[in-house]
């Protein structure tokens, strides 16, 4: 019996492994990179070797056996601070990407599919929002509404929303001309039926790729805001504000910034890899680069 279970277990492991192997490589790599960060965000207390808020060692130590990434300017463990920062950074990036995606896709697909005057008006509005450069708009919003995390999320989302809408509108326009959409219109399909049954499902692969680009941009924007001192407030750690501190002591502790810098790059890179993997998986060739660039200008 136990043997059977073992065999079955091994077989299911093997089939799971072969399923993983059949996925596009970038997707697998991206997910593998992201998993530790998700764990850090979920269980920072379990993973961090030290208390991230406690001053417990000589400041600005280089990496050593007990402090793997060294210590910061007041003597806190950098590795633990990096781990604790994951929650804030991941939450902000994912939440703002999700908000931007939902609003942008809804607005864009609708606008593109409906076309005519609705489209013209909506897109002019989007143009106006687009002409405020990313960080500037976010900064402006934070000046006005304060520095809480939710303002940060909404500000980043609002900044990314117009280009998402632009992009989804393109999809809507393309799909509007598809034969199956027209066939459905001929048979009396309502706007709602067509958007839900035909347009959205067929746009989804491309939009998912776009979503991962959004998440990646959100990580970078969030880090930039923290860097400027407008994100998470000390002593709460975030990768951006850690890098800011690192800059002040660059001549004394050149290795200070490695940890948070690598974290930001890995997370942003993981999202991009996932996007690239999804693109290969769905074989959508639409270039989502414009999206990344207009929202990512940091």
């Amino acid at each position: 019996m136990t043997g059977d279970v073992a065999v079955a277990g091994r077989a299911s492991f093997r089939s799971a492994w072969s399923w993983v192997r059949s996925q596009p490589t970038p997707l697998v790599i991206g997910v593998v990179i992201l998993i530790p960060f998700l764990l850090m965000a979920a269980f920072p207390g379990l993973l961090a070797p030290h208390d991230p808020f406690k001053i417990e060692a000589i400041p600005l130590q280089p990496p050593s056996g007990s402090y793997l990434l060294g210590t910061d300017e007041v003597g806190r463990d950098l590795l633990s601070r990096c781990i604790y920062a994951a929650r804030n950074d991941l939450l902000v990036s994912i939440a703002s990407a999700a908000v931007a995606f939902t609003l942008g896709v809804a607005l864009g697909l609708f606008s593109g599919y409906v076309g005519r005057r609705t489209d013209t008006i909506l897109m002019r509005l989007v143009d106006v929002l687009l002409s405020f450069p990313t960080i500037v708009l976010a900064l402006f919003l934070i000046t006005i509404f304060g520095r809480s995390m939710w303002v940060q999320i909404l500000a980043i989302a609002l900044v990314m929303m117009p280009s998402t809408a632009r992009f989804s509108r393109g999809e809507g326009l393309v799909l509007r001309g598809r034969g199956y959409v027209e066939a459905s219109r001929i048979s009396g399909g309502s706007r709602r039926h067509i958007l839900v049954r035909h347009v959205l499902p067929n746009a989804m692969p491309t939009l998912l790729v776009a979503a991962s680009v959004l998440a990646s941009s959100a990580v970078l924007i969030a880090a930039s805001l923290s860097y400027l001192g407008l994100g998470a407030q000390p002593p709460e750690p975030s990768w951006g504000n850690m890098l800011r501190s690192a800059y002040g002591v660059v001549f004394d502790a050149p290795l200070y910034g490695i940890g948070p810098g690598v974290c930001i790059s890995l997370v942003a890179g993981a999202y991009i890899l996932i996007g690239e993997g999804l693109r290969r998986k769905f074989r959508t060739d639409r270039n989502v680069g414009t999206l990344g660039n207009t929202v990512g200008g940091v």
Binding site: R178, G179, Y180, E182, A183, I186, S187, G188, G189, N202
Partner: protein, 681 residues
């Protein structure tokens, strides 16, 4: 060069090409041999997947990187061409041999002028000294019958009409004074009247003896009037070759015969169902040892010899050869399967199902610049479709035929005009035609079926939208519909991507039938299908009509097909109806000069007819002029145009059985019967 013997003697022996796709090897060409005598015009014909284009690219050395090519020899005018040596090939390309591609718009660099693209060939091969290049460019443009060459040389490709672009591309090919010209589907993207002039040009260029021409095409009718000899390809192999008259009159291979039977001819009215070839191309990754055509062959299907042994070339009486084990048996099975075709409807008028009157549809908007940018797609058109009738609308691209159909079905809203439909014996005006009154079959089934839905969901969608519920509720209807379009009910769970092109179009037809409409509009419904599948779909449509008695509106640029399936034909030009009549009457006695030109431009798949046929060729100048409201739409291209045609718009007598919108109807009739010598093809 080659002296008296002329130039362009191409000998290809044992040419094979494989593509590596992922881990699989795909056989594109297998042991192909050709012998094109100097100054000869040879056509390579085959369906998509036959390897005909690969053949052209292989000879030119232009295959993509994932290909492996091997050959016993490729020899042009006694000089061996090193098929594996890129730099040697480059020197020969454009110089000894040149190529013309299908899509001239995509094959010319959009950001360089025509002149510079010709002149760079002159420079690359040092054909003429630098100082003479400009003159040579103009000479070449003149050679391809482009007038005002010095103006055209300064234009960009997008500023030219399709025909002019294709001529310009031919000029770039001629620039190196090649001895072999390979033309890969050079006219498939062109309108039929333009196609005729381009084929004419290629024919003339190929008649000097200084160059041989290889015409690669799927269009058997086109070949008939063009080529000296024809080579038929199937699944990467040459299966038959011979003089064009012999191949067309006495095809020796079952495939050639079936292919010839599957194409409608504009010269015959509909008498029989079209021939069709069951099955589809073999899997190119798993070629069999035997004859590649065996699974679809009426003669050899299942025979051990055909399954296991590759046929050798056997010489055929009358010239040429064929790769078939049993060429002698082909005569025996001949025409037994020819059934009775669609019945010609009685001429007596029936009650109309649809009546469109004075439809006008424009695109673009009037902005600051006035009416500029506004295109009149449909300009005051009446259309009447009777019960159980098949009406065909023909015309070239831009004639407004598709727009008219889209207005009828409600995909576009007309600017003005009225559509009335028969509701219990009476005609009543409607805003939008109901989905159970009319349905639409699109050109490209790959596009008109949602790739994420199952066949059953697709077919049931009109019913779901009309009667509510879920798709599963309509499974019995779906099964009936599948059966009526000749698909097994097991197809219901498939997705469109798992089906062949012909099967997808059957699904689209089943969807159109689901609401039991009185009218089905078929917009180029077979244009995207391969030749052998076209016949099947047309036969199916005819059979369904006999069974259900609905009316068809066929939108098509293919006059041969329309002649085969339609009772009545409407000819459109530039948004207007120029002539309408019963099909037989229209094709036998076309009266509008445009209709005459159109019909005379359509090639007939019969070499004997083609050699004696006379063409009325229409010329186009730079860009096609848009007509304005005044006068006849056709006046800029009409050989008969006079003062009156510019000022007064000809009317169409809707009541006449054969209505023509032309001021000089009598003259027009004459011009067709006695074409001027200068315009003879």
């Amino acid at each position: 060069m080659a002296g008296d013997a002329g130039r362009g003697h191409l000998q290809v022996t044992g040419l094979s090409v494989e593509y590596a796709v992922g881990a699989r090897r795909l056989r594109a060409l297998h042991d192909v041999s050709l012998d094109v005598p100097p100054g000869h015009r040879m056509a390579i014909v085959g369906e998509s997947g036959s390897g005909k284009s690969t053949l052209g690219l292989a000879v030119m050395g232009l295959l993509p990187r994932n290909s492996t090519v091997s050959a016993d020899g490729v020899v042009l005018d006694g000089t061996s061409i090193a098929i594996g040596d890129p730099s040697a090939l480059r020197r020969v390309r454009g110089r000894s041999m040149a190529m013309v591609f299908q899509d001239a718009k995509a094959s010319l660099d959009p950001v360089r002028t025509i002149g510079s693209q010709i002149s760079e060939v002159l420079a690359a091969h040092r054909v003429v000294p630098r100082s003479e290049r400009r003159a040579e460019v103009e000479r070449l443009l003149g050679e391809v019958e482009i007038r005002r060459a010095n103006l055209v040389a300064r234009l960009y490709p997008h500023e030219l009409s399709g025909g002019m672009r294709q001529r310009s591309m031919i000029a770039t090919a001629l620039a190196g004074r090649p001895s072999l010209l390979i033309a890969d589907e050079p006219t498939s993207a062109l309108d039929v009247t333009t196609q005729a002039t381009v084929v004419d040009l290629l024919h003339r260029l190929g008649s000097t003896g200084q160059m041989s021409t290889l015409l690669i095409t799927h269009d058997l009718a086109l070949v008939a009037g063009f080529a000296d000899s024809v080579t038929v390809m199937y699944a990467g192999e040459v299966i038959e070759t011979g003089p064009v008259t012999r191949v067309y009159s006495a095809p020796a291979h079952p495939y050639t015969r079936a292919l010839l039977a599957s194409i409608p001819s504009i010269a015959d009215s509909r008498a029989a169902t079209l021939g069709s070839i069951p099955g589809s191309l073999p899997d190119p990754t798993q070629p069999t040892a035997g004859c590649q055509f065996e699974p679809r062959c009426v003669v050899g299907n299942g025979r051990e010899m055909c399954c296991t042994v590759r046929p050798v070339e056997v010489t055929v009486a009358g010239g040429g050869s064929a790769r078939c084990h049993f060429p002698a048996e082909l005569g025996a099975v001949s025409d037994e399967e020819a059934k009775v075709g669609p019945v010609r409807r009685a001429v007596a008028r029936q009650a109309p199902v649809v009546q469109m009157s004075s439809i006008v549809k424009t695109f673009g908007r009037r902005g600051l610049s006035g009416s500029q940018g506004v295109t009149v797609a449909v300009d005051d058109v009446d259309l009447r479709i009777e019960q159980g009738e098949s009406v065909g609308i023909v015309g070239e691209s831009g004639s407004g035929k598709t727009t008219l159909a889209r207005v009828l079905i409600g995909l576009e809203r007309a600017d003005s005009g009225e559509t009335r439909i028969a509701v219990s014996e009476r005609l009543e005006p409607v805003q939008r035609i109901p989905s159970d009154f009319a349905q639409f079959v699109f050109q490209d089934p790959g596009d008109s079926l949602n790739p994420l839905m199952s066949v059953a969901e697709i077919i049931a969608e009109p019913l779901v939208l009309r009667d509510g519920g879920r798709a599963a509720r309509y499974l019995p209807q779906v099964n009936d519909l599948l059966e009526s379009v000749g698909l097994r009910s097991s197809m219901a769970e498939r997705r469109p991507l798992e089906l062949s092109g012909g099967q997808r179009q059957r699904v689209a037809i089943a969807r159109a039938l689901s609401t039991q409409p009185k009218l089905i509009i078929a917009d180029e419904a077979v244009a995207s299908l391969d030749m052998s599948a076209r016949g099947q779909i047309l036969n199916l449509l005819a059979a369904l009509q006999q069974q259900h008695g609905f009316a068809y509106l066929y939108i098509s640029h293919d006059l041969s097909m329309v002649r085969h399936v339609c009772d009545r034909v409407v000819v459109m030009y530039s948004g207007r109806v120029v002539e309408t009549a019963a099909a037989d009457s229209l094709f036998a006695d076309p009266q509008h000069p445009y209709t005459q030109a159109l019909i005379s431009a359509v090639p007939v798949p019969d070499p004997v007819v083609e050699t004696t046929r006379r063409r009325m060729l229409l010329r186009t100048e730079i860009g096609d002029q848009q007509h304005s409201g005044e006068g006849c739409a056709f006046r800029f291209r009409c050989p008969l145009a006079q003062e009156r045609c510019h000022s007064e718009r000809p009317t169409l007598d809707a009541a006449a059985p054969h209505a023509v919108a032309c001021h000089f109807r009598e003259l027009a009739v004459e011009s067709f019967r006695a074409p001027r010598a200068s315009e003879v093809g």
